[in-house]
Amino acid sequence: MIVGQRKPFDEIKSYVDGCQRILVLGCGTCVAVCMAGGEKEVQILASQLRIAFKEEGKDVQVDEETILRQCDREYFDTLKDRVDKYDVVISMACGAGVQLAAELFPHRVVVPALNTTFIGIAEKEGVWSEKCRACSNCLLAETGGICPITICPKGLVNGPCGGTNHGKCEVDKNKDCAWTLIYRRLEGQGRLEKIREIHPPKNYKVQTTPATIWHAAYREEEA
């Protein structure tokens, strides 16, 4: 899933200072699961804003709403007629959701409440870790199911750098060296031949942004 982290309160508030009517808009999917931008976090941010404005003696209306997904147009339908009432929409979605909200409400200011951080997994309650860089060129079949593009800060494809020590990374001693993990896993599976050959350079051409994907069944619409 997409993992995000809420921005500091002061930064979010600085985006909406001077506004009279604010909508805090949550997203009920990825960022709800990672406890950053779902219904609960909408309640918390809206309450914080109300308290802060009240302390400043300002009469500001702060409303709350959470839709199932901010990366899908259809879920915005219920908001279409209401959104004009607001000066600003604080989107608590990932960067994709914020942009769709801004696209759908071009006459309203839409600002983000999160920093979108990575595609990752839940390690345990309240802990997530990055697993995928969405590089459009998946190597996991060759690297024992461990992604060197993501787990190695240098994204190396031909083995570890000289900075690794005791299986840890030169960038952060608390993090595992991707290539030590890959070596050990393939060794355990008797598949080291997978990484003995020189791997070709990464192909950044497939990453040309912004990418668009058409499902095969819908292909004719592209024409």
Partner: protein, 294 residues
């Protein structure tokens, strides 16, 4: 005039290289003095490339200054700051300036240096950089396009014989040789018994190996490196020896230790030469060499 480094590797029984670290700023007087002091005492001088991810004068212009001073430079090139276009154009530029030796490295990560917010590049890695250089030599760029005139380099790479675990490092070492590396300069080594074990393995490959010698300035420095520098292991007896030196004499002891190691490597023909990294004490390299009886 020095002989080309490739020829030194081919013909000399024991090859010695040292290292020049360009300064941060345009005052190059001290560096020029070091170049002058060392150029005739060693077979080639490596020039570091934004060493430890700290911004300095680039490796290429300093290699050119070494050429002009009558020395033989080795251009160190990391993959940290340049994509494949920049690496290739700099290599072609180096060749036309008369630089014939390149050491290919991946490079330290950006955040360990003095511009931690900069964008790390790492478009390719050290193995692919060796391959890229060999491809330029074939008259083709890395995308396969024809060159108008091909360069010819003596290409080196590095290895860390004390890495723990060693197996993933050796896998990469073998890839570097397969890609075409002609010489290998090692990370600092201090335990010659361990190093001999590494050399028994490395001798299977057609590549010249220069043992990395880092000058120990004190017992504290040795302990610091053991705790903080990946792939460096200073055995306790050496630390004790440095600690036992009279006050103010630890550096002299360090020179003696470095000289003694070089002497043993040379006399026992453990490998093909040494690469001396004096790290800010380049002026002491001649003393290290005389302590080694050279």
């Amino acid at each position: 005039m020095p002989i080309p480094f490739a020829e030194a590797l081919r013909t000399k029984e024991f090859v010695v290289t040292a290292e020049i670290g360009p300064p941060k700023g345009v005052d190059i007087d001290e560096m020029l003095h070091h170049i002058d002091l060392l150029k005739d005492k060693v077979d080639a001088l490596n020039v570091t490339d934004n060493q430890s991810s700290v911004m300095r004068i680039g490796s290429l212009p300093v290699c050119k200054l070494i050429k002009e001073a009558g020395g033989e430079p080795i251009l160190q090139m990391t993959c940290r700051d340049r994509n494949r276009l920049a690496l290739q154009s700099e290599l072609l530029g180096a060749y036309v300036l008369g630089i014939r030796n390149v050491l290919a490295l991946t490079g330290d990560y950006i955040t360990v240096g003095d511009h931690p917010e900069a964008k790390p590049v790492f478009d390719i890695d050290s193995v692919l950089l060796v391959k890229l250089i060999k491809q330029l030599e074939q008259g083709r760029d890395f995308a396969g396009n024809e060159l108008k005139g091909a360069p010819k380099f003596c290409v080196g790479a590095i290895v860390t014989p004390e890495a723990d675990p060693i197996e993933p490092q050796l896998l990469k070492f073998e890839k570097k040789i397969k890609a075409g590396a002609e010489f290998i300069q090692t990370q600092a080594i201090y335990d010659l018994d361990n190093f001999k074990k590494f050399m028994r393995y490395a001798r299977k490959f057609n590549v010249k190996i220069l043992a990395g010698i880092v000058l120990l300035a004190s017992a504290g420095m040795a302990r610091f490196m053991n705790a903080n520098v990946p792939g460096i292991f200073v055995p306790q007896p050496l630390i004790d020896e440095l600690a036992s030196a009279p006050k103010g004499k630890a550096l002299e002891k360090g020179i003696e230790i470095a000289g003694r190691m070089i002497k043993q490597i040379r006399e026992e023909k453990i490998c093909d030469g040494v690469h001396i990294m004096a790290i800010g004490r380049e002026h002491l390299v001649p003393e290290i060499l005389s302590a080694a009886g050279m």
